[in-house]
Point group: C2
Chain length 392, copies 2
């Protein structure tokens, strides 16, 4: 019964049936009038989700492709980026910079912490010569379940001209990110997270100020060249054949998201976070993130002392077909991650928590069966009664 799974990954995420069905459409000419309308509808909807007037360039790739596009289009070889890393996607930004001969000034936080905006302010204040051309940071660090304070990071730039590049792949639409109000120069997003769409499309939301850097940048790029993307965008096209079926899905997803509205979407994700935290704490588990930076998309939970997190993950998969993620890099075996973004609901999480309780008790962790569920139900009940999630 492998198809009856409960997918609780921080991406790919579950896809609503009507979005899956939107992909059962014959291919069209990607340079023809119907495609032009498709791109325009997606652009209009995406602008609303990002709360921006900036253009979004659609790329056929994963989120990492979007990160590479940001680096290769903004930073020339020999220029410097301030990479504020709080986990494996932060390190990935640094690796991409190195691959493209960009110098990295690394603010390397312990995994589980958030960026301290004061550190950004200090580094930029000390950079009198304005050698730092861009600050690269995650909105939400998928590997640790930590949400950064992007507003404060943006403000920490003060008068320094560094561009702010935000990898919002796993954070966008789970937590607020008003791009224009917060003055974000480049925001990277992906289809397979809170958009509830299969993977295949990433987007770059580019401010006019970032465009100046793109025009001047001498780094190597072709497939991800935003100058080509812009040239074709203005003709209502993409430079190369895009993953049309994923775009059909995006169009359907945007209809669903905009009819729900951003406030309810954010509130729903905050509830998921609260459900998972309450349950995990009731099971005497510790989270990797501090509560005040807890991600609304994904929660990283430490395995109990002496237990390998991979045994928990394997047990939940084998006995229940509940799919959660493991730790990445140095966190491998130490944590497991429950993704709770996009098309999930409270009862998916109840099921996941039940599978977790049974798995933990079978592995010898002394818990009272049902304790996590009790805590989770209280959160859900509270949300219904206060009307905070009235259409839940």
């Amino acid at each position: 019964m492998w198809e009856k799974q409960i997918l609780l990954l921080p991406g790919p995420t579950q896809v609503p049936p009507r979005i899956l069905q939107a992909m059962v459409m014959q291919q069209i000419n990607h340079r023809g009038p119907y495609a032009q309308k498709l791109y325009a509808e997606i652009e209009e909807g995406t602008k609303k989700i990002l709360q921006t007037k900036n253009d979004n360039f659609l790329l056929t790739c994963s989120g990492t492709g979007g990160m590479e596009a940001a680096v290769a289009n903004l930073l020339s070889p020999g220029e410097t980026a301030l990479v504020a890393s709080i986990g494996s996607f932060g390190i990935r930004f640094a690796e991409i910079c190195e691959a493209f001969n960009v110098n990295v000034d690394l603010l390397d936080y312990p995994w589980g912490e958030a960026v301290n905006p004061d550190d950004i302010a200090k580094r930029l204040e000390a950079d009198n010569e304005h050698k730092i051309k861009a600050v690269l940071v995650q909105h939400n660090e998928t590997s640790t379940g930590v949400l950064n304070d992007i507003k404060a990071i943006s403000e920490a730039r003060g008068n320094h001209p560094a561009l702010l590049v935000v990898d919002a792949v796993s954070g966008l639409a789970a937590a607020d990110l008003p791009v224009d109000e917060w003055k974000l120069d480049v925001v990277i997003w992906g289809s397979q997270k809170a958009f509830m769409v299969p993977p295949g499309i990433a987007g770059l939301c580019v401010s006019p100020r970032a465009w100046e850097a793109v025009e001047k940048c001498t780094n190597s790029r072709f497939y991800f060249d935003l100058r080509l993307a812009k040239k074709y965008f203005e003709m209502g096209q993409t430079p190369f054949t895009p993953a049309l079926s994923v775009l059909f899905a995006m169009r359907e997803s945007l209809k669903l998201m905009l009819s729900e509205g951003l406030p309810k979407i954010f509130s729903r994700h905050a509830m998921y976070r609260d459900i998972v935290w309450a349950a995990a704490e009731a099971l005497n588990l510790e989270m990797l993130a501090p509560r005040e930076n807890a991600s609304p998309s994904v929660t990283a939970i430490k395995a109990p002392e002496g237990m390998n997190a991979n045994d928990i993950i394997k047990g939940m998969l084998r006995d229940f077909n509940v799919v959660v993620a493991g730790g990445q890099g140095k966190l491998k075996g130490k944590i497991f991650r429950i993704g709770h973004l996009g098309y999930v609901d409270g009862l998916d999480l109840i099921s996941g928590i039940s599978a977790l309780e049974i798995t933990l008790s079978r592995l010898g962790w002394p818990i009272e069966n049902g304790a996590g569920i009790r805590a989770a139900e209280q959160i859900i009940r509270g949300r219904i009664e206060t009307g905070a999630c009235s259409d839940y």
Copy 2:
């Protein structure tokens, strides 16, 4: 009635209903056991289509992304590639090389001609110092409808160590390309052509000899880094989240293709080419390609003297929803291209030819209505009677 279209593009191509339906599957963990099985099945099938023992690395991108991956992984800055260009995708190879600081030795043929293997032999013979590290060439040039003689080009290398990189995006599975027998070092393919799958996935088939170049290459790459691709391939994964839905479609497509078998697939495509040529000649139209290099995937037809090809394309779209492609670059307005690869059949082409006849006569081209159809029917009838296409 825009959904009742006849898509006769050289990509994206029509997708069989069962392949579209294969995409209506919930997402899975792209690093889990079901994904591992999915990748393995695709690898097994793709090897048969490519007639190779070499590994195929799956990339989430268009065919151009695959071309960039070949250049950035094989050629270091300052090294030289011999680019044998017969159309706009040949020029694209040169542009990618330039973007990645690779020197281009360009063999630039008039658009409509095929590569002369003797020219390759001469260039390589003259290169005593073995400065040329790779020969880059198209199997089938989509922009002109010309099929290159890849076997002869491969043999023309003689004892020169240059790698042969073949962009087979629009040629693979339409025309024979036995990768191992012809000693092809890197072959690039894409999901949206003869695989009958939506766009989103490209593949690189890499020989052991090419691997040596990949290991030594110093060019900038991260998302397309084949060293990462190989590392994850060996774990039954891809380095980054792939377009899973397109892979579900690929798996279904390979089942269909392997049950039909390569000889029948090639024979079918040869018939499509013959149908379009016979009809176009009966309508007194001229092809861009010489008959002996005519592509089995796409036919480029010159607009009659004094007529803009775009008017033909627009008329066929407006009055019949028959979608054909225009000319690219310097051929814009001068030719139109009928794609005939993948999930097409003779009657799709009959419909397309009828739409063409009516459009041409309305635009003032003096033809006998039905002349193209008559010629096309004779080809189809002949194929049925000789049993050359017995399950047509």
